[in-house]
Symmetry: C2
């Protein structure tokens, strides 16, 4: 798992970690059952505090994406093939989608360009249908 962060970004570090993990799972780089680095390990690799990684992992756990325990460490709990969204997710997500697409529209991207960008992005996911690099990866 190559994880690139921008420590100078206005986006909180723990949020960036969360986003990168979500994207990696969507892209098929991390499949269900894949092990993530331990909080202390990842923190050391990224040069940040392990509490920050802990916060990111805890957020991912609350979102249903990670399974955390002393036994197995941090493990991916679901991916794109694990089943339909949990109830309540789609409404919230739809609202955020509306805001984001409105932003592009307002800035002058026409509907076709917006949809093309969406298509390109979605097409970029699931590039590794069977897991490559799912276990014992380093940052």
């Amino acid at each position: 798992m190559i994880l690139t962060l921008d420590l100078n970004s206005e986006i909180p570090i723990y949020q960036q970690i969360r986003d990168r993990v979500v994207e990696a799972v969507a892209a098929g780089e991390l499949a269900e059952g894949a092990a993530l680095p331990s909080t202390r390990q990842l923190a050391a690799d990224l040069g940040i505090n392990f509490h920050t990684v802990n916060k990111a992992y805890d957020l991912l756990r609350r979102e249903g994406l990670l399974l955390l325990n002393r036994k197995s460490g941090a493990v991916v709990r679901r991916d794109a093939r694990s089943g339909p969204p949990e109830p309540g997710f789609t409404d919230d997500w739809g609202a955020r989608l509306r805001t984001l697409l409105a932003e592009a529209t307002v800035q002058g991207l026409d509907g076709a360009a917006v949809l093309a960008a969406c298509g390109r992005t979605v097409g970029g996911f699931r590039v590794r249908p069977e897991g490559a690099r799912v276990e014992g990866e380093s940052v």
Copy 2:
């Protein structure tokens, strides 16, 4: 401009105001040149502090969407027909799009469903090509 906020949301109020204005412009409810309520007026209508509205308007101004001055008050500076995006916008926006679409993918929405949602959302914009309710609106 009907502006509905959730004061109990985890999303900051000033951010919600910004998002609603962006969506209204994308939907054609506010066209270039349309006047928005004054900061004090909107704050009173929403039952919040005028500094919070000020912060939202200032954010919209920095994004190039609003024009603020003592003469004309708050006026919409651009809409979907005002021209192409400013340089640098698309990269940042694309990254945020990637994160958001990854989130849906991971939660089990398949590519077709995601693109359908995008299509529906974009199709919902620009419903009023010529401005209705652009001037002197209340909240």
